[in-house]
Structure formats: C-alpha cells, structure tokens
C-alpha cells in the first residue's frame, strides 16, 4: 500500500480495496519500523490517527467521503495541532501543547485525513539541513550519512521513505523545495497569501508560506485543493477563488514558453546537477515546449537581501517567546530581565540566536536605512526582474539547489556556506511567487530537483507542467533502498 501515490490510494479507498484503518495501521507500522532510524518524526499520534481513520471509514459508509477522506498525513511540527505537542523543533516549545488547530490542519482534518504524527524540522524553520532541530538531525533516506535538506527535512524524509503519502511543509526561503529536491519528492510553495498562515508558527511573516510535499504533482494538486483559500484569520490571506487544481493537469505542453535564467547556471552549480537539469529541459522540448533565455540580474543578491529581511522579521516574531505565557521558562529567575534573558538564551539554539541577533542589529537605531530599508528596495528590484521575465515566458526553470544532499555536519559550523544552499530558491519568496521542485534525476545516487517558478497564482500551470513531465519520466517513482 505504501508504494501507491495519494491519488491511487484515493481510488483504492473508493473501490473498497482497503479501509482507512488498514492504511493508517500500515503506515503506523512503517513509522515504527523505519521512522526511528531517520529521526523524521518528533511526535507519533497513533491513537488519534486510528480514531480518525475509523471516523473516515464511517463517513465513507455513509456516502459522505471526499477524495482525501481516509488518507493519512503527517504535519510539519510548525503547524499548531489542538491538544498535540507543537514544538517547532525547539526546546523553547518542547512543553507546548497547542490549544487550537492551524487553519491548514483544520481543513485537512475536515477533509477526513488522519494525522500520523508531527515531522521533525530545523528549529523555528531556520536551517537548510534539518540539523538545527532540538530533536537532532533527520537522515536522508537515500543515504543516511547525508542531510535531507531543510527546514521541512522531516516532512521530506517521511514522504521519500513512504512513511506517509503526504506531509505538509512551509517555505520561507526554500524550506519546501530544497528538501523536496534533496529527498527526491515533489514540493510546492504556493503564491504568498494562497494558503493560510493562521496557526503556522511565524518565522518571517512576509515570506512564510505553507504547501504540500508529496510524491507526484497530481497528489500535490489534490491536497492543494483543500489547503488553499481565503482565511479571515490571516490578514495577508488573499480573497481569490481556488480553482480545481486537478482540472488542467493533462493539458498538452505544446507552445509552453520556458525561461532559463542564465544566472541559475553559473559558478557554484555542481556539474552533474547541471547535466540533469539540461536533460530535463530537453525532455520538455520533446513535449513541445519552447526555451527562451531570460535574465534575473539581481537574483544573485537574493541571499544577502533575504538575510536582512528574514532575520529582521524573525527577531520581531520571536520576541513573543518570553517565558511568561507559554513555552520554556528558566529555573529560579532572579528578576524579570533575568527571566526573559535566560528563558530565551536557554530555550533557543545557536542558529535561532544568530538570526535574532542579526535582525535586532539590522533594525537597531542608526542601521535601519543601511540594512532593512536597503533590503526592501532590493526586494523590489528582484521582483521587477521576475515581472519582466514573465512578460516573455510562462514558467522559469532551473536547479532547485546547487548540489545534491551534503554530508551531515559538513556545513553546520559555517552559517554562510549553509545559507548559500538556498541560492536558487530564495528569490521566489522575496517576490512572493509560487515555486515547485520535482525529481529530475540522480548524481552519485542522490536525487536532483528541477525547480519550476510560476507567475502569481499560477499554481495550476506549475502543476500541469510538473505532471506532464512525470507522465513521461519515472524519476518520481524511484524508491530509496531499504524503504
């Protein structure tokens, strides 16, 4: 059952080949047998999952099942889940039992999807390797000496190892797409404002966006149908109709205009990865697409820009963790300032502290213009580059990450080299554009992701473009040995 895609499981449940309880038991057994080695889950909610599965089966018996009813999922531990520990990968929230559901969690629950557990992640989603988690590093199922990427590394490993057909992720600078690439799965970061951020623990509010991590584009389309949509509880949620993303999946690609940004194929790109991406582009040409070179001249400054905007917003967002209302509190504080300082100093890990300090510095008196204002201007230039490119092309393609999965520990002592893992993904967040990563081949036995960036609210086209490729290739069907 675990080798089937979410779409296949949906059909199997509808045909009565198995029940939701069968499926849920099966995935829980796999998690028990294989999840420990990968360290990809922080919490397993077996009892709740089985209760939800029984409800899903009853609902189906009443004839009230939808396409997702009964299919189990895993949530990234950044999404608040009512009554279940929501740690955000941090000691700060190790004792936090969320008192409400995130909108994404509520919607998927209402669709009838049992929750198997909560996925490991970089602490507060700050990292590109899943090594900053308080709960330890996640291993990549393709090679357990390597990282799964981050920050949604647990979610990516869960899907790659077939421990669930679908996991939620969040993407602030590449945190869905980069781990999807490194683990050989399909990941979609929707347009900013498309999916509600309510109950998704905030890192950088102007960049954060939740999205699906699945094996195929078809599966992503099915879950995005439920995840997307206006939410009055998120002030940046967009009031715009949600199309049926499964509708246009099979549209032929003849005449599709693909933009290749020359900046995404320069120095720093692994030669093997470049070859895989070129082969994928050739495949698209065979499917009838036309390839046009485009320029994103300011893209190479997206990493510097991001490391002002994201830390600035993070320093503000994370000021709520003060040891007073919820989360970690230090022992025997001698006064209020000591309570704040030690609760935060002991509760946050080093990467989170670094980013809070960079953000605090960038926003402090005398530095605001040089850093924050400058970065917001850069953001405009980066967005304008995309605007111009999308006047000529329908989608932009390139590598998701400059290299395949790197060794555990290889970059953990050098923040700047870690930050450069997101060099190709960050620009889409700064511009608010939707982006995807799909499996496109292997280098040294490790998966390579093809990134597809679309225009605002053009998720349906991204999914169509990804689906047609998956219909004519089998990279997304490869299974890591032992899983």
């Amino acid at each position: 059952m675990h080798t089937k895609t979410l779409a296949e499981l949906s059909r199997g449940l509808a045909a009565g080949e198995y029940t939701s309880v069968d499926l849920t038991r099966h995935f829980l057994q796999r998690i028990e047998a294989l999840g420990g080695e990968l360290n990809c889950l922080i919490t397993v909610t077996a009892d709740q999952a089985l209760a939800q599965a029984r409800e899903a089966d009853e609902r189906r018996a009443r004839g009230e099942a939808g396409p997702l009813t009964g299919i189990p999922l895993v949530h990234k531990d950044i999404f608040c889940t009512d009554g279940v520990k929501t740690s955000c990968g941090s000691k700060m929230l190790d004792n936090f039992i969320a008192p409400y559901d995130a909108t994404v969690v509520r919607k998927l629950k209402e669709a009838g999807m049992p929750m198997l557990g909560k996925a490991n992640m970089d602490e507060f989603a700050m990292g590109s390797s899943n090594e900053t988690s308080f709960y330890g590093a996640v291993k990549n199922p393709w090679n357990t000496d390597t990282v799964p990427g981050g920050s949604s590394g647990g979610s990516a490993a869960v899907v790659a190892a077939h421990l669930a057909p679908f996991a939620t992720g969040t993407d602030t600078g590449g945190s869905i797409r980069q781990p999807a690439a490194l683990c050989g799965i399909t990941g979609l970061k929707p347009t900013y404002g498309r999916v509600s951020r309510y109950g998704m623990i905030a890192f950088a509010s102007s960049l954060d966006q939740g999205g699906p991590m699945t094996r195929t584009a078809e599966d992503a389309a099915m879950v995005l149908n439920v995840m997307a949509g206006f939410d009055e509880r998120d002030s940046t949620s967009v009031e715009r109709e949600v199309p049926d993303y499964t509708d246009g999946l099979d549209k032929p690609l003849r005449g599709l205009r693909i933009g290749l940004p020359r900046e995404y194929f320069g120095e720093g790109l692994n030669a093997g990865v470049a070859k895989v991406i070129e082969a994928a582009i050739d495949q698209y040409k065979q499917l009838g697409a036309e390839v046009i070179e485009v320029g994103l001249p300011n893209a190479e400054l997206s990493v510097p820009t991001y490391y002002v905007v994201a830390p600035a917003e993070c320093s503000s967002n994370l000021s709520r963790f003060d040891g007073v209302r919820f989360g970690y509190r230090c022992e025997e504080p001698k006064d209020l300032e000591d309570l704040y300082k030690r609760s935060r100093g002991e509760g946050f890990g080093p990467e989170v502290k670094r980013r809070i300090m960079i953000g605090t510095y960038a926003l402090s008196a005398g530095y605001y213009d040089a850093y924050y204002l400058k970065a917001q201007k850069m953001r405009h230039l980066i967005s304008d580059d995309f605007r111009q490119a999308f006047e000529q092309v329908d989608v932009i393609m390139g590598p998701t990450a400059p290299d395949v999965a790197f060794k555990l520990g290889e970059k953990s002592d050098d923040p700047v080299s870690m930050y450069l893992s997101d060099i190709y993904t960050i620009a889409a967040n700064l511009a608010g554009l939707p982006g995807m990563s799909i499996p496109a081949g292997f280098v040294d036995g490790l998966p390579v992701g093809l990134q597809i960036i679309g225009n605002y609210f053009d998720e349906a086209r991204l999914l169509n473009v990804a689906h047609k490729y998956q219909q004519s290739t089998n990279w997304h069907e490869q299974i890591p040995k032992g899983f």
């Binding site: 300082k341 960079i358 402090s364 700047v416």
Partner: protein, 95 residues
C-alpha cells in the same frame, strides 16, 4: 562590518538573550561573516527604488470592530509556566 565582543553583548542585551561569555567570540565571528554577506547588496545603487512593503502590493484588509473570539483564558493559561487567580506570575517588579 566586523563586530567586536562589546557589539555582540549589546545586541544580545537588546534582544534579551543570555549568551555564555565563552560563546561570544564565535558569535562575533559568525555574525560578522553574515553581515559581510549581507553587505554585498551595497554593489547595487538603490537610490531611486521604492522599498517593497508587500509582495502583492495588497492593502491591509479591514474588518468591523466587533468581538469575534470567545474568552478562553483558562484554556490558554493551562499551558503557562506559572499562573495564579487568572494572572501570569513573573518575578516581583515593584518593591
């Protein structure tokens, strides 16, 4: 921008973060490296560019000023480190 020990101590204080004395040199080095990365932005003249406030140029939505949430004080205080009579407890601030 190269940060010194005193700069790190000042930033940590502003951010209300306790940092071990022994870790300060490493923070100074790492934060300086990050700032050096960030300062690559200076290569671009942005004098005439307006700052981007929102990725979609969308105005902030307004709503009627009416109560929409119910009071769940007990439920929310159940997860607090220390409460008494419906109040959050912190070390004494007024002598």
């Amino acid at each position: 921008m190269s940060l010194q020990k005193e700069d790190v101590e000042k930033i940590a204080h502003l951010a209300r973060l306790a940092v071990d004395e022994a870790d300060i040199p490493e923070y100074a080095r790492n934060l300086s490296d990050i700032l050096e990365l960030v300062e690559r932005m200076d290569a671009i003249d942005t004098g005439a560019v307006t700052p981007m406030a929102h990725p979609l140029d969308m105005p902030q939505r307004l709503r009627e000023d009416v109560v929409s949430e119910e009071n769940q004080r007990e439920r929310f205080q159940k997860i607090a480190p220390q409460v008494e009579n419906g109040l959050y407890l912190v070390p004494q601030v007024i002598e």
